[in-house]
């Protein structure tokens, strides 16, 4: 049981997808202007990523490996993820049209979110079993949401700040992201308890 906890905690804090693995930066910069949208995006990604980790494990170990079709791995993962994203989009459009409008292009772009493809591939590389895969997916997604929400909170405050003219907008956001990355490096020490 403890090992699952380590997988989740490690994925959330120590090896945060955004700040340590530098994955999924596109929505990280794009959907972090407002706290609400960031939360919505985080929730959507969490749903997709957890589901994608599980299904891709199933496809990989039950379908691809027994048939020696490992070379189809990336392709089949992408198809699975695309389908899950489409499903999520339909659900969101029904339940929260505003969030759907606000997430806009970023919602279908979860498909191409490198974190969503990267995490299943990492699962394969780490030889995780089904539960471990899903835990790792969940942890990574929560880490992504955490990074996104923290960053959105900071950006909302930044809007009221006296930023020098040339640094306004994306520039100061980049600097902030860098500082947050540095801060997350502090969690590296947690590793020794593993």
């Amino acid at each position: 049981m403890a090992s699952y906890l380590f997988i989740v905690l490690g994925a959330v804090l120590v090896n945060n997808v955004v700040f340590v693995r530098i994955l999924g930066l596109c929505p990280f910069m794009g959907v972090s202007k407002k706290l609400e949208t960031a939360l919505g995006m985080g929730a959507a990604t969490t749903f997709v990523l957890t589901l994608a980790s599980g299904t891709s494990y199933v496809i990989d170990s039950w379908l691809l490996v027994p048939n020696h079709l490992e070379y189809l791995r990336t392709l089949s993962f992408i198809v699975t993820i695309a389908a899950i994203v489409q499903l999520t989009e339909l659900v969101i459009e029904k339940t929260s049209p505003l969030l759907h409008q606000v997430l806009g292009i970023y919602l279908p772009l979860i498909t191409t979110n490198c974190a969503v493809l990267g995490v299943p591939l990492l699962n394969v590389g780490m030889k995780h079993n089904l539960v471990e895969s899903m835990m790792f997916g969940l942890g990574s997604a929560v880490g992504f949401t955490l990074a996104l929400v923290l960053f959105a909170g900071i950006r909302e405050r930044l809007e009221g700040a006296d930023v020098p003219v040339h640094f306004r907008g994306t520039a100061i956001a980049m600097i902030t992201a860098g500082l947050m990355g540095l801060a997350f490096m502090g969690f590296a020490g947690l590793d020794k308890y593993k």
Partner: protein
């Protein structure tokens, strides 16, 4: 004076009180000015509606304006004389804008209109409330809220306690102090009447402990009285102990949440001056035509004056002989008052203090520095707010966020500005943000009303179209039937001729007007 447990409000500051300057001299009566300008907008709520015209002769105490709505009171002529007219004139307001005022040229006779006392305990309370309204009684603490509205019975909660606010926490101001020293009996008479109207079962008088003479005068007067239990309590001197919610908390321990008022918790608060004015209005029939005003600050002879409403502030200031280097005049105290844009403005019911200032007395604040988030303002805030957060968003004009930090709980007491090490005028930002939000809400309301009217118009146009179509169809059917019934050609011709004659008709005769 009983010993009882007092409660505390958080925050607050202790500025130098500067009360000694003006509380030594006895109350002086200000001489009558030749022209009195009585603004129609004096109380919180709606402005009053003028009832006199240019050239009318009025007597002292005669009603010159009636209540302009449910939260509005009457206004009376402060002296006898002739109405010069209803003119726009500067009023004491931070904007310096003009507002309609009744201008009265005094005839010097100062003749009272007939007035008589009533026995307040023999009349129904609603009648008493209307009398308070018609006597123009408003809160004299500074907000000038109509007192008769505050005594209204709430259907859900009875008033248990009537609190008499004699805290007078703001520096420099001493008019309530002097009033309590000289007229404690009148104040308690008024408080008893207010308690009777509101249905309160006890009266608690809260006075800051830096006014021992007032405390002893009020205690002595209270001890002599029978009837409702009256407690006179000295509260610790700490600004803003005289804030309504703060005083209620100190005296009763009740913390009133956002959006609620004292009466929701069985407490109602009146200023001592208001109580005195109530007694005057009912026990001697004299409406509110004058008030006690402190004139202090950078003047040779600071003191308190009994002044007629409508007296030009410049006339009043002269009585106290301002020093040569006076460069500004404030209405109210240094914490919550505002600089008067012009001294032409008349004195109104809300004017409790005229404070002359100079560069030496109030040195100009240093330049505003960036907020360092030290949290001093949050510690000083008596409403438990986070002024630095509200400032952050108010300054960036992100008003929604400022509101999320409970901007509208702010009582603008000025504690945060007072303690800010970066000399940020926080209250100015909050006032800006508040008035901006209010203006937007008003705009939204107007937009909603416009949408409704537009939708109604579309609906009406659609209905009219349908009605017209239905009418035409009915007519066509009728004509067809007639034509079918009329067998030969002659009758048909006659019908057509009649129809043509009908079409000519409207042109010939005038359409009746809709108005």
């Amino acid at each position: 004076m009983n010993v009882r447990e007092l409660f505390k409000f958080t925050g607050g500051v202790k500025p130098a009180s500067h009360k000694a300057e003006s509380n030594q001299a006895a109350i002086a009566v200000a001489p009558l000015s030749p022209v009195l300008t009585v603004p129609l907008r004096q109380n919180a709520g709606l402005a009053s509606r003028p009832l006199v015209q240019a050239g009318d002769k009025v007597l002292k105490g005669q009603i010159i304006a009636g209540p302009g709505g449910s939260i509005s009171v009457a206004i009376h002529a402060p002296t006898s004389g002739t109405v010069r007219g209803i003119e726009t004139h500067p009023i004491p307001h931070p904007s310096g804008l003009l507002s309609p005022c009744v201008v009265i040229e005094a005839d010097g006779e100062d003749r009272w209109i007939e007035h008589s006392a009533v026995d307040p305990y023999s009349l129904p309370v609603d009648e008493l409330r209307m009398r308070l309204r018609d006597a123009g009684v408003v809160g004299l603490g500074g907000a000038a809220f109509p007192s008769f509205v505050k005594t209204q019975h709430s259907p859900t909660q009875d008033i248990e306690t009537l609190i008499l606010n004699g805290a007078e926490c703001e520096p420099f101001i001493t008019c309530d102090d002097l009033l309590m020293r000289t007229k404690p009996d009148e104040i308690l008479d008024g408080a008893a009447i207010l308690a009777h109207i509101a249905g309160a079962k006890r009266i608690v008088v809260g006075i800051e402990d830096n006014k021992p003479e007032a405390v002893s005068a009020m205690s002595t007067a209270a001890a002599k009285r029978s009837g409702l239990p009256i407690e006179v309590i000295a509260v610790p001197t700490r600004y803003p102990a005289g804030g309504e919610k703060q005083l209620i908390r100190v005296l009763t321990g009740i913390e009133i949440p956002f959006g609620k008022l004292g009466p929701d918790y069985g407490v109602q608060c009146f200023n001592v001056g208001t109580a005195c004015a109530t007694a005057r209005a009912l026990l001697s029939g004299e409406p509110m035509i004058s008030r006690l005003v402190t004139v202090t600050g950078n003047v040779e002879r600071p003191g308190n004056f009994e002044v007629r409403i409508g007296t030009p502030i410049s006339d009043l200031l002269k009585l106290a002989e301002p020093k040569a280097d006076t460069d500004r005049t404030l209405m109210g105290g240094p914490m919550m008052g505002f600089a008067l844009p012009t001294l032409d403005a008349p004195l109104v019911k809300a004017t409790n203090c005229i404070l002359a200032g100079s560069k030496a007395m109030f040195p100009p604040p240093g330049p505003e520095m960036p907020c360092i988030r030290c949290g001093s303002c949050a510690r000083a805030c008596p409403m438990d707010l986070q002024p630095f957060e509200m400032f952050w968003f108010s300054r960036a004009k992100i008003l929604g966020k400022a509101q999320e930090y409970h901007l509208f709980d702010c009582i603008e007491c000025g504690c945060c500005t007072y303690v800010c090490p970066s000399r940020i005028p926080l209250v100015d930002y909050f006032r800006f943000a508040k008035s901006e939000i209010r203006a937007r809400e008003k705009e939204n309301e107007a937009a909603d009303a416009a949408r409704l009217r537009y939708e109604f118009r579309l609906e009406r146009e659609e209905r009219e179209k349908q009605e017209k179509a239905a009418k035409l169809a009915a007519k066509a059917a009728e004509t067809k039937a007639k034509l079918a019934a009329a067998g030969d050609a002659d009758e048909k011709k006659a019908l057509i001729a009649a129809a043509m004659a009908r079409t000519q008709e409207p042109k010939a005769e005038e359409k009746p007007s809709a108005e």
